[in-house]
């Protein structure tokens, strides 16, 4: 994820458009994201079948009008399963980012602002954790908590937190040494005011974009864990679990493997695109 969060400059032309003129790609991303958010909130309204009802007579039917995206090996409607799986997948994405950013914020601020005797050890620990492969951290957490949506959420969150913490640390250091923080000191503001008014909000600013970027990546990570069999309990249609289940039938039912993957890619893409756009707007209006 480092790349996506360090890469900032977008085409300058995008910046110059007014607030109401949004690039087409972003508009589409917002639509896709809204669709999935709606699916997460009221899956029943968007689905055509129950996601759990099995129908052994219509197993592995290809996409058609009665089953938009086909059915799985026990006749469950894939489209409805993807819709119902959205809630869990998105919750994992959101939750993981919430966990990651919360812990990363505490650690990042501490590493950047705390007195040396606190900051130094935190910095070292972050360094150690950074050397841990993300997946391994996640694996350990699943092993600790057992496979479930909650542990997926925590394991992805904790697994990606060290990277974010380093970013927040860097951002905080940057803000800390910025002209406006110095100006605030020079004005005679006390430290806590400066932290509250300047350091915290400005160090957080890129996190808005990071959050959106990270949701997509978290969904991908979580589905990777599901794929390794460390996912949520069946019959949950969490997307990674759908992919894992679809693998066995891929030679005769391509749709089972393609569509859930496409859903993951769509979510990752749309949230990334939105995150980028937010980032550009923030960077664009704030640091031209």
């Amino acid at each position: 994820m480092t790349a996506s969060v360090t890469g900032q400059a977008r085409a300058a032309s995008e910046r110059q458009r007014s607030i109401f003129k949004v690039p087409l790609s972003v508009a589409l991303s917002v639509l896709v994201a809204l669709f999935f958010v709606a699916a997460a909130i009221t899956p029943a309204a968007l689905s055509t079948h129950s996601p759990f009802d099995t129908d052994l007579l219509s197993s592995l039917t290809p996409p058609a009008s009665d089953h938009l995206l086909g059915t799985d090996d026990i006749g469950r409607d894939l489209y409805s399963r993807i819709i119902w799986g959205t809630r869990q997948s998105l919750l994992i994405g959101l939750g993981a980012m919430a966990v990651a950013l919360t812990s990363a914020t505490v650690l990042g601020f501490a590493a950047a602002l705390a007195p040396r005797w606190i900051a130094e050890p935190i910095d070292r620990i972050l360094e150690i954790l950074l050397a841990f492969p993300t997946l391994l951290l996640a694996l350990l957490f699943v092993a600790l908590l057992g496979p479930s949506a909650t542990s997926l959420l925590f394991s992805v969150g904790i697994g990606t937190a060290p990277g974010y913490a380093r970013l927040i640390r860097a951002q905080t250091l940057k803000v800390k040494s910025s002209g406006y923080v110095e100006a605030a000191w020079a004005l005679g503001h006390p430290g806590h005011t400066i932290f509250r008014q300047h350091i915290a909000p400005n160090a957080f600013r890129p996190l808005v974009a990071l959050f959106a970027l990270g949701i997509g990546q978290s969904v991908v990570w979580a589905s990777g864990l599901s794929f390794l069999g460390l996912g949520v309990a069946p019959p949950s249609p969490e997307w990674g679990a759908l992919l894992e289940a679809g693998k066995a039938n891929i030679t005769v039912a391509w749709w089972l493997e393609i569509f859930p993957g496409v859903a993951i890619v769509f979510v990752a893409l749309s949230f990334t695109q939105i995150g980028r756009y937010i980032q550009d707007r923030l960077e664009g209006t704030l640091h031209q």
Partner: protein, 540 residues
């Protein structure tokens, strides 16, 4: 013997006939022997298997598959008959607790050590230590009579002890190796007398076997004697079924373990197939009869009535595994009783039984309830033991019992949790799902005995505790008369079915698809172990 963490599957047409007969009366040869003229000497057989065990030899069935290639056994199991192998003949004491084996004198380990009574005796402690369930065989040890005669001592009479000794785990390692080699060497490349020896094991990739050119002591049920036909055997580990199928189709592999169910029909059409229904307990539902709602027999029966087991097995496994109604013994196990017609799909009856049992209220989600408690069953399953299709079958069961108001929570366990024995206490679950490969009907003694050496018996997944029935099981096991013994075991199997303590769903089945130019491959009828010794390529 013991549960196998691997996939359960299907049976070919040939195997179906086999099943009707109770247990395999016919050898499941891949082909006849008419092609012998075309035989190519040498060549490399590539076999793609699913799971990779930690060591080549041990108590896991995955290890039996491998061990069978490098070890030989005292006796050979040949479609219901016990045939000589490393033992030329044997006799049994009158109390049936001591068996005297006379050993072949011409057998040499691949490290040059001679096979003799001392070798047998040297192997016993290894078995005891390395095979977790060794105690259930009632073996107590060997004593040496002379250089080529040993006596095996049993704590209980065990008519199936020969099946046990033939089953893949009880092979012989070189005593020199046992004494001198490092544990790493014994793990990766144990030294046996068998037709193959390990050349190299690359973890994550596979094992290269080369043939033992000195081999000349094949069992009588083998197709030939002397060294193996093929020069090399490449045993590759490929966890994904689709990939294994692809490897076979592309010609990279000659034999593929468990093709995807959706391809099984193709496999039968385009390739040769072999299927073996494992002995022991089938994949089945074991209800917790010590606490919770399933202490009530009516609830257990209602659960079973509510599930269309035959159709589920057909739909999910697409003919790769047979339906099994018996929860105690699988179709190939000695003394099996077929109860497939019991508990036909009958949701109306299930509802009636549940009403009678007092589960008449409904909770907010529409599930049945009594005294404010939802009729709910936790069903943990070990993902290392129940494969993806097994998990799918469980989801259909979950969906079907929902229709009669029973809530099932499927709880997947990680490998760590599973092997660490999570969810194994009576308070942890209402239903268990699993199987156990075991060659004899004394499996009932293993799984329904409430105690083991004074401790709660971990294998008793129903938490069954009925001293009277336990007594009957031991009595049946000790019964010397085969007819009465069959009768006694039939009674027991019917009793467990009627009580719905445990019901079967499908049989654990070992399927392979074989390229058309490979002939002579056969499956051992004890564990389904593949015997590559007789396999050979033909000119096409």
């Amino acid at each position: 013997m013991k549960r196998i963490a691997m996939t359960a599957r299907a049976t070919s047409k040939v195997a179906a006939i086999v099943l009707l007969a109770g247990w395999a009366p016919l050898p499941a040869f891949a082909t006849g022997s008419a092609d012998q003229d075309q035989r190519v000497d040498g060549g490399t057989i590539t076999y793609v298997h699913q799971q990779e065990p930690p060591c080549l030899w041990g108590g896991w069935v995955q290890q039996a598959y491998l061990a069978r290639q490098v070890f030989d056994y005292l006796v050979s199991y040949d479609n219901g008959q016990i045939r000589p192998w490393l033992a030329t003949d044997w006799s049994q004491s009158s109390d049936r607790k001591t068996i005297t084996f006379h050993l072949r004198k011409d057998v040499v380990f691949t490290d040059g050590t001679k096979f003799d009574a001392d070798a047998v005796i040297a192997n016993y402690p290894v078995w005891e230590k390395g095979i977790g369930w060794h105690g259930f065989t009632y073996m107590q040890g060997f004593t040496k009579v002379d250089d080529f005669t040993v006596e095996l001592h049993l704590s209980e009479p065990n008519p199936e002890i020969y099946n046990v000794l033939a089953n893949g785990h009880y092979g012989f390692q070189s005593p020199t190796s046992i004494a001198r080699n490092t544990s790493e060497q014994k793990c990766l490349a144990p030294v046996g007398t068998g037709p193959w020896r390990v050349e190299k094991w690359t973890r994550g990739a596979g094992i290269s076997f080369v043939r033992n050119d000195a081999y000349n002591w094949a069992p009588p049920n083998a197709h030939h004697n002397g060294r193996a036909y093929a020069q090399r055997l490449e045993w590759r580990f490929v966890p994904d079924a689709t990939t294994r199928w692809g490897a076979l189709v592309s010609g990279e592999a000659d034999v593929a373990y468990q093709p995807p169910s959706v391809q099984w029909k193709n496999a039968q059409r385009q390739f040769q197939t072999l299927s073996f229904v494992a002995t022991g307990r089938p994949q089945g539902l074991s209800f917790n009869v010590s606490r919770g709602p399933f202490t009530d027999q009516r609830v257990r029966q209602a659960f079973v009535d509510a599930v269309d087991r035959k159709k589920i097995v057909q739909a999910v496994f697409k003919g790769t595994v047979p339906f099994e109604g018996n929860g105690s013994l699988s179709k190939t196990t000695p003394l099996y009783l077929n109860v497939d017609d019991n508990y036909p799909f009958d949701p109306a009856k299930a509802n009636k039984l549940l009403d009678e049992a007092g589960w008449t209220a409904r909770d907010a989600n529409g599930y049945r309830a009594k005294d404010g408690k939802t009729l709910e069953a936790r069903l943990p399953f070990n993902q290392a033991i129940i494969d993806a299709e097994g998990a799918v079958a469980l989801q259909v069961i979950q969906d079907q019992v929902k229709n009669v108001g029973i809530k099932v929570d499927l709880i997947p366990l990680t490998q760590t949790e599973g092997f660490a024995g999570a969810y194994s206490k009576p308070g942890d679950k209402e239903i268990s799902f699993g199987y156990w490969v075991w060659p004899s009907p004394n499996i009932l003694d293993i799984v329904y005995n409430h105690q083991l050496k004074g401790q709660p018996n971990g294998n008793n997944t129903t938490f069954f505790n009925n001293p009277e029935i336990e007594e009957q099981i031991i009595d049946a096991q000790r019964e010397p008369d085969p007819k009465s013994r069959q009768q006694k075991f039939n009674t027991l199997q019917q009793w467990f079915t009627d009580q719905a303590v445990a019901v079967g769903v499908y049989n654990f089945t070992y399927n392979v698809a074989i390229a058309k130019n490979l002939k002579g491959l056969w499956q051992d009828q004890g564990n389904g172990l593949l015997n590559f010794y007789d396999a050979y390529f033909v000119k096409e």
